[in-house]
């Protein structure tokens, strides 16, 4: 069971700035361990953000994204009280969704 994301959603001037910190190893699949063996790739592949249930952003991530990734974006028209949900899916098929209200 993965650790929860930290989501901050702040409304200002008709939009909301969303900041998400995700807990994930993001192993690129190019590193080798002490014995010279490749450490298998384990990283987020898809990210979806939704506002009150409606998808507003999707992203496809690859091995270049670092460990414990930080994502920041703006949602037009979002206001205080709206629900923002972030979902990530990784290459092992694991997935996680966390929610936060816009303040």
């Amino acid at each position: 069971m993965s650790d929860p994301m930290r989501i901050r959603a702040q409304a200002a001037g008709g939009n909301a700035t969303i900041r998400v910190l995700m807990s994930h190893e993001m192993e690129s699949g190019q590193r080798k361990d002490g014995n010279g063996k490749i450490i298998p790739a384990w990283h987020i592949q898809d990210v979806t953000a939704s506002l009150n249930g409606k998808p507003v952003m999707t992203a496809e991530w690859g091995p270049a994204v670092s460990k414990n990734p930080f994502l920041q974006f703006t949602i037009k028209g979002a206001k205080a009280g709206d629900k923002v949900a972030i979902t990530w899916k990784d290459n092992r098929g694991e997935s996680r969704t966390d929610e936060a209200a816009v303040t």
């Binding site: 650790d3 929860p4 930290r6 900041r19 910190l21 807990s23 670092s66 414990n68 930080f70 920041q72």
Partner: protein, 283 residues
């Protein structure tokens, strides 16, 4: 950028200027731009990069985990840490970190945050403190200790260091810490002082805080626990000191040992009045 032929610069180049004035203007603009570029040293660029990293510090993840662990019933006694006395009374976490290390009457010794946490995990939750101390960094319960330590330090964020020196044991540890700070050893004859006793020095491109006085003492001591971007790890002061000693080519300092606590007293007292910035982000 030439005023002589570019449409884009038409607005910057007033009509009717003679060619000579236009050239002079161009040269001045280039020189100014060149000077600005030359002023951005490697140190400036690194500082800029670090400021950008502040937002979204992965230390937040450890802080959140640490808070949960503090409140969760765990261990053989199935109890939370909410009655843990970090020096300001049972359960008082706000402001506790900026007064550590300090003397504790119940254990009869000076303790830093991480060793005190082990005491609480043993007495309240029934964990074996000695076994916890022997657990390598990055493994099992040590990860939980790191996360809780991160949260405890965050509860003092922005406050100023105010370590007590009123108990004789605290004063003794300061003196021991000072001696250890200057003690040379290992294959390279390094002391903490070799790197950390002068102003404005750096190792490769990493600036070195002068830990013998302000502002270096609070800047250095007050930044750990910190998230290290280069290896994606959360490091408490115990691990920071451990890795210092490793690079000094010393043998292995025991977790929560008197030597590490004494150094904490030395740095913390030197940093009196300085701001606590932990949990911070580091390269």
């Amino acid at each position: 950028m030439s005023c002589l032929n570019s449409q884009a610069t038409a607005m910057m180049c007033p009509r009717g200027m003679t060619a000579r004035i236009q050239i002079a203007l161009t040269v001045t603009l280039f020189a100014w731009a060149g000077a600005a570029m030359a002023q951005k040293s490697s140190a400036d660029s690194i500082a800029e990069y670090r400021t950008m990293l502040q937002d979204g510090n992965p230390a937040d993840l450890f802080e959140a985990k640490g808070e949960d662990l503090w409140k969760q019933k765990r261990g053989p006694k199935n109890a939370s840490l909410e009655q843990c006395d970090l020096g300001k009374g049972p359960g008082v976490v706000k402001g506790a970190w900026v007064e550590l290390p300090r003397y504790f009457a119940d254990t009869g010794r000076v303790q830093d945050m991480e060793s005190r946490l082990l005491t609480c995990m043993q007495t309240l939750q029934g964990f074996n403190a000695e076994a916890l101390a022997k657990t390598p960094f990055g493994k099992d319960e040590q990860n939980n200790v790191t996360a809780i330590a991160t949260w405890i330090s965050a509860e003092s964020k922005g406050m100023t260091f105010n370590l007590s020196q009123s108990h004789v044991e605290e004063r003794k540890m300061y003196e021991v810490g000072k001696r250890l700070f200057y003690l040379r050893g290992g294959s390279h004859d390094f002391a903490c002082a070799t790197c950390h006793a002068q102003d404005d020095k750096r190792i490769r491109l990493q600036d070195l805080p002068n830990l013998t006085k302000q502002p270096g003492a609070a800047n250095g001591f007050g930044a750990w626990p910190a998230y290290r971007v280069s290896n994606g790890q959360m490091w408490g002061m115990q691990l920071r000191l451990n890795d210092c000693y490793r690079q000094q080519r010393f043998p292995y300092p025991l977790f929560g040992s008197e030597a590490t606590i004494a150094l904490g007293v030395y740095m913390g007292v030197n940093g009196k009045g300085g701001d606590a910035t932990a949990p911070a982000i580091k390269r």
